[in-house]
């Protein structure tokens, strides 16, 4: 097998925000990063370190002021809005802190939302959506609405939704931030499971215990990558916690 191409390659990514007339904030100051397929990366950092900006750029929700971002070999840093939307829809699966399910849709429909914008026939994907729902343990709640589910269940719907397009990577933003430790643990185990199945995962967190599960922990400070820690591979969630 030839050496795999990195899924994410950031080259000198800078992001500047102009606030008011003369004030400029440099949220990212030339970040370089490569993420190989199948890796599990956690991004940590105090608030103001640029990790949210990093997440927005990685998620194609925002474009860098300068620098280049290759996602699956494609330069997305200069893409127009429509193509960027398409890249989000096809290449990235999002898991948000506050689940971000659509309230008036059922579990099944929420899982289907990313497919809506791919111009595909939903009926052909219904089986896949059901399988995903079963995988996250909600096979019997397909027609429930988000407000009929617990926080942990909602987040599991979000996990299923993030997988429906078979994305290149899953971008999780504080996925356990709104959950108690037990249900948080369950969701993290689900993510671990995805990683074991070869999914590339980028997770943003400020929680050490969450980050410890990743193969690679990137600490950010002042808009730059401060340091990187490699964790030992684990056989399951309970073992192999290597302190950074």
């Amino acid at each position: 097998m030839p050496p795999a191409e990195p899924i994410i390659r950031l080259e000198g990514i800078e992001k500047r925000y102009v606030l008011g007339a003369e004030v400029e904030v440099r949220a990212l100051r030339g970040v370089n990063l490569e993420v190989m397929p199948g890796s599990y990366v956690a991004i940590m950092g105090p608030s103001g370190s640029g990790k949210s900006t990093m997440l927005n750029i990685l998620g194609c929700l925002d474009r860098p002021t300068s620098g280049r971002y290759f996602l699956g070999g494609m330069d997305v840093s200069r893409m127009p809005d429509d193509e960027l939307s398409e890249a989000r829809g096809k290449r990235i699966g999002f898991i948000f802190q506050s689940y971000n399910l659509i309230a008036q849709l059922t579990v099944l429909e929420n899982i289907q939302v990313p497919l809506l914008y791919q111009g595909v026939d939903l009926r052909q994907y219904e089986e896949r959506c059901r399988t995903l729902a079963e995988m996250v343990g909600l096979g019997d709640r397909l027609h429930h609405r988000p407000n009929q589910l617990s926080g942990g269940q909602q987040q599991r719907v979000a996990v299923a939704r993030s997988l429906v397009n078979d994305p290149l990577m899953i971008l999780a933003d504080e996925p356990t931030g709104n959950l108690d430790s037990k249900t948080g643990q369950e969701v993290l185990e689900l993510i671990d499971h995805l990683s074991e199945r070869g999914k590339t995962i980028v997770l943003v967190t400020h929680d050490d215990r969450v980050a410890r599960r990743a193969h690679r922990v990137i600490h950010m400070a002042d808009g730059l990558i401060d340091r990187e820690v490699l964790n030992e591979p684990r056989s399951n969630g309970a073992q192999g916690r290597v302190s950074s």
Partner: protein
């Protein structure tokens, strides 16, 4: 392609779903459009019905007819009101006028003279005030009457001054509550006339405008006698007795109906008749009614009426549209987070635009459909409860429905665009 169709379908389904989520709000928003569409259809139906009735009435006068009527000139009327009792006034159309028209105006088919005398008709103890019309047998063809029983006037009656008469059905019922009127004789003034037939008038436009008609008097109290009989029995001078004196009026003919060969010659004949009669009448003692012109006027009036009604209704649709826009703008703000989620999950700007546009159009078209139903029902109810005639035309329904759809698109576009322009990051942060 089927995928795209499916996407549109599911967008529409989603739109309906989110509208159903706020049933009251959606319903109230729709009301504007419902009233708008309903008023467009109902108003146009009532306008159309009113003008149809007017046009039908005019058409019955005959579009190839020109009607001349004797008028009592105003200066004489004044004189008669003053102390000049016992004087005689001479005015109106003459037999000569009829002959002149027949002889000189091109395209004239027939000239029908009519004398109208108001008299009481008696049978036994029954007496009914009515109009005695002395005329020719072809009166029936020109005016359009249904012969119910017996016969109408004939040429023989005319030539021989027969004392016969034809009654309208209503009058016959009043005069002969228990007998068969045929072959009985009725008394008018001093003479007896044998009833030979019963007719029903299709319409009586000349009676409607007849001077001296009392309110509430039935319209069908008519007696038809031969013109020659009318001339010989009543004479030319009509004397009206009143307290302390009498007034005499000399009127040869009360009405002349000129039937033209075709509609085209009506237009040319009208000014010619005016000129011709003007030469022999120094007083302004007759009027010309051209049903064709009345018809044209009625059509023009109808057009203006429709424009006015249509504009009022269009304004209400506009107000409805503004209501929709207002709600949709609130809707976009309320659902900012959902927009953010959808954008993050791959929705393009145009997907968001489409989603909100579809909702607006569903509201407008749904309102339009209900409006069409109510709008078609309203004129029916109006017709049922009142004597007003209403006509719901297909084009008014299509127009109203089309406008409601257009209102949906026009007023939905701005909120939908506003939704699509939201920054996904900002939208996701929205609480």
């Amino acid at each position: 392609m089927s995928g795209l169709n499916f996407q549109l379908l599911s967008t529409i389904r989603l739109g309906i779903k989110s509208l159903l989520l706020h049933k009251l709000r959606s319903m109230l928003t729709m009301l504007g459009i419902i009233f708008g569409v309903c008023s467009v259809i109902a108003m146009l139906a009532i306008g159309e019905g009113a003008s149809y009735e007017a046009q039908e009435a005019i058409k019955k006068l005959g579009s190839d007819n020109i009607i001349l009527r004797s008028l009592k000139p105003p200066e004489d009327a004044k004189q008669a009101g003053m102390a000049t009792r016992g004087s005689s006034i001479e005015y109106g159309l003459t037999y000569k006028d009829g002959a002149r028209i027949q002889a000189t105006i091109p395209g004239v088919k027939r000239v029908l003279p009519v004398r109208i005398i108001r008299e009481n008709v008696r049978f036994g103890a029954n007496s009914v005030a009515c109009q005695v019309l002395g005329t020719y047998p072809f009166y029936r063809d020109i005016v359009g009457m249904e012969l119910v029983r017996g016969r109408f006037l004939t040429e023989t009656d005319e030539i021989n001054n027969h004392n016969i008469c034809v009654l309208t059905v209503g009058l016959a019922q009043r005069l002969f509550p228990y007998q068969d009127p045929l072959d009985h004789s009725v008394r008018i003034d001093a003479f007896y006339y044998r009833v030979v037939g019963l007719v029903r008038e299709m319409n009586m436009p000349e009676q409607r405008t007849q001077a001296g008609r009392k309110e509430g008097e039935p319209l069908d109290n008519n007696v038809y006698i031969p013109l020659s009989t009318s001339r010989s029995r009543f004479g030319e001078v009509l004397i009206r007795r009143s307290a302390g004196g009498f007034e005499a009026e000399k009127v040869e003919l009360h009405q002349i109906t000129v039937q033209m060969k075709d509609t085209r010659s009506v237009e040319t004949a009208d000014p010619q008749i005016k000129t011709l009669l003007g030469r022999f009448h120094n007083k302004n003692d007759f009027e010309i009614i051209v049903p064709l012109q009345l018809l044209r006027q009625a059509e023009a009036t109808k057009r203006i009426f429709n424009i006015v009604l249509g504009s009022i209704a269009a304004i209400s649709l506009l107000v409805g549209g503004i209501g929709i826009m207002n709600i949709m703008l609130a809707n976009v703000t309320e659902r900012t987070r959902e927009i953010g989620i959808r954008r993050a999950l791959g929705a393009k700007r145009r997907d968001i635009t489409l989603q909100f546009l579809v909702e607006t159009v569903v509201l407008a078209v749904g309102g339009g459909l209900i409006g069409v139903m109510v709008g078609v029902l309203t004129p029916l109810i109006v017709s049922h409860l009142t004597t007003m005639k209403t006509i719901v035309t297909v084009w008014s329904v299509l127009l109203a429905f089309g406008i409601s759809g257009a209102v949906g698109i026009i007023f939905g576009l701005y909120p939908a665009k506003a939704a699509a322009q939201l920054d996904p990051i900002e939208a996701l942060r929205h609480e």
